[in-house]
Symmetry: C2
Subunit: 324 residues, 2 copies
C-alpha cells in the first residue's frame, strides 16, 4: 500500500481548481448546457455528449467517433471523465488544457463542423444564453464569445470526476477493500513496469511515450498513417509517440488505444506487455492486472439533463445535409 | 373561460395510466435508460433522445431527422412530450400507442437501423439489463424481449408530460394568469375554427384531417410524394390526411408540419388559416393567435441522465460504418 501511495494519488471528492478559470456555479451550469447543446454543431445534431457520453464512461464506445456527415474520425474518443487531471488533452497532447480542447471538435470537419463565429451568432440569438454568459462572466462587455464558451465547458468538465473507486479507498488506507487477487494485480502493475507510464492521479495522462517502446504492434493497432505527437512537434523523436492513456474507469471505455482496435481489456493488457515492456505476460498475469484495473471504476457523475433555450428567428438554421 | 374549459383539458400533474402497461417505478427507470441507450441502434450512436431531445421540447428541431448513415428521414420528428395523450402515434397514426411506436424507429433503416433480435441479444449481454428487466416484468420467464423494451419505454414516456403551462392554469380557473392579448388569441383560436381540429388535452393529436381542407398549400410544405394516412389505410379519402399536430409546447418544436418546412410559428398559423380555414388571417390575428400558442409551453421534464451498463464481450459490436 505504501508503495502504491507513493506512485498514485486518489481522485478528490471536491471539484478541482482550474488554471485561469474560476469554477463558479454559473459557469458550471452554463457549461453543462453547452456540453449537451447540439446547436454548437453545424448540423444541430451533434453535441459534446454525443462522443463523450456521460452515461457510458464519458466516451462513445466506438473505435473512432462518428461525426458530421457520418464521417469516421481519425482516433478513438478519450473519456472526458477526470480529463481535468491530464497534463494536456488529445492523444497527442496538442491542447494544453480543456478550454483549448473544447474548441477542437466544434471546428473539426469530421466532428461538429462549425465555425467560432457561427457558434457565437447562434448563442447570441437566444436571450437565455446571453443572460447566462453575462452572469458567468460578469463585468465583460461582450461575454458571449467562443473563448468564454470554452471556459464554461472546461468548468463543467472539471466537475466530471469520479471519486471513491475501490482503488481510491485503498489508497486512502482501507486495506480490505481490495481482494487478494486485486492486490496481486496491483503488485504486478507496479513491478512489471506498467506504472512507469501509468502513474499519478489518472494512472496515465501525465506523459508521452512511444507506442512500441520494445516492439511495434501490428498495423491494425498502430496504423502507419498516424504518427501521433510527431504531427504536433515535427520532431523525429516524437514519431508514434502518444500520451499514455489515463486508466481511470478503463473498464467502461472500450475499445482501447488511439486506434480503438482492441475491444477487450485483457487483450489491451497483453498488447501493452509486449509492445511497451517487451514481455509476453502469462494468462494468469494478464488476468490479475485486468482484475486490478476494474478497481479503477469510480462513482459516475450524476447530472440533470439540461433544458436548452429555444431557438429564435435570429438563430442560424441547421446545415444538416451539407457534408464536409 | 367556460367555453375554453369545454373544449380543452389541462395536462395532469400526475403520470397518467397506460393501457395494458402498469407504469411502475422499475419500468420507468428501465425505460429511461433505454430511451438514452445508443446501443439500441446498429451503429451504437443513435438513441431515442437523439431525435426526441428532452432538452429541446422533445424533438430535434430539424426539418426531418438525421439517422443511420446520415440519412434524412421522411417526416419531421414529433415531440415525445405529452405524446401519451395522443389518440395514436406518428403523423399518420400508424402506431396505436407508444409501445407500438417505440418499435418503429429502432428498425427503420434511416433511423436506428436495427433488428429486434439484435436488440434482444445486446440487452441480454449485460447483467444489469437482465436484472432490471426481471424486476420490471416480474414473473416472466424471459423478460428481456423487444416487446418489454417497448413497454418500458412507453412507461418512461408516460412520465414526459408538461403540466402547469399558463394555459393550464387558466383552464383551472386562474383568470389573470393570461394577458388580455393572450385571451384575445384564445378567443380567435376558438372562433376562427382552429379548435375544430386542435382541441382536447393536447390541442390536437386526437383526429385525422386532410392537410388542405380549403386550399392545398404549395409542394414545398405539402410534398406530393407523401400522402400521409393514405399510405396506412389505402383509402382514397385519406389522401393527404394527417393527424392534427398536438400544439402543446408548440413554441419549442419548430420547424412545423410533417414536412418541417416552416420555421416560424407565425407563418405556420398563416398557412393553417389559408389551407384549413380558407381564410387569409390578418397580421394582427396571426400575432394574437401566436401569442396565445406561447401560453401552451408547460414545465419541461427534469430527468437525471442515466448511467448505462457497460458492454460485455457478449455485446454485439457496433456496425457503425455500414450504411443502409
Amino acid at each position: 500500500m505504501e508503495e502504491a501511495q507513493g506512485m498514485f494519488e486518489p481522485i478528490p471528492s471536491v471539484v478541482p481548481a482550474v488554471k485561469d478559470n474560476a469554477v463558479t456555479h454559473e459557469k458550471v451550469e452554463l457549461g453543462k448546457m453547452l456540453f449537451f447543446e447540439p446547436r454548437l454543431s453545424s448540423s444541430h445534431l451533434i453535441s459534446c455528449n454525443t462522443c463523450h457520453n456521460l452515461g457510458m464512461g464519458g466516451d462513445d464506445n466506438l473505435e473512432t467517433s462518428i461525426g458530421h456527415g457520418w464521417a469516421k474520425g481519425p482516433r478513438n474518443a478519450p473519456t472526458v471523465l477526470n480529463a481535468v487531471f491530464n497534463i494536456a488533452q488529445f492523444w497527442d497532447g496538442r491542447a494544453e488544457d480543456l478550454k483549448a480542447q473544447a474548441k477542437g471538435p466544434i471546428q473539426a470537419g469530421v466532428e461538429m463542423n462549425n465555425k467560432p463565429h457561427a457558434v457565437e451568432v447562434t448563442l447570441n440569438s437566444m436571450p437565455e444564453y446571453r443572460e447566462r454568459f453575462a452572469r458567468a462572466f460578469p463585468g465583460e462587455d461582450k461575454p458571449v464569445t467562443f473563448d468564454n464558451l470554452a471556459k464554461a465547458i472546461e468548468a463543467f468538465e472539471a466537475t466530471l470526476i469520479t471519486p471513491a473507486s475501490r482503488f481510491d479507498q485503498y489508497l486512502e488506507g482501507n486495506d480490505p477493500v481490495l481482494t487478494a487477487e486485486e492486490k496481486e494485480g496491483l503488485r504486478l502493475f507496479m513491478d512489471k513496469g506498467c506504472a512507469g507510464c501509468h502513474a499519478g492521479r489518472n494512472l496515465g495522462g501525465e506523459g508521452y511515450f512511444p507506442f512500441g517502446v520494445m516492439e511495434k504492434p501490428g498495423a491494425d493497432i498502430l496504423p502507419p498513417n498516424d504518427q501521433g505527437r510527431f504531427q504536433v512537434t515535427q520532431t523525429a523523436d516524437d514519431s508514434y509517440v502518444f500520451r499514455a492513456g489515463p486508466l481511470r474507469n478503463i473498464a467502461l471505455t472500450a475499445p482501447y488505444f488511439h486506434s480503438g482496435m482492441v475491444w477487450e481489456l485483457r487483450q489491451a493488457v497483453a498488447v501493452m506487455g509486449e509492445s511497451q515492456l517487451g514481455e509476453k505476460l502469462s494468462d494468469k498475469e494478464i488476468d490479475l492486472i485486468t482484475t486490478f484495473l476494474h478497481t479503477l471504476t469510480g462513482e459516475q457523475p450524476r447530472v440533470e439533463y439540461p433544458i436548452l433555450p429555444v431557438s429564435t428567428p435570429e438563430t442560424p438554421l441547421p446545415q444538416e445535409m451539407v457534408a464536409q
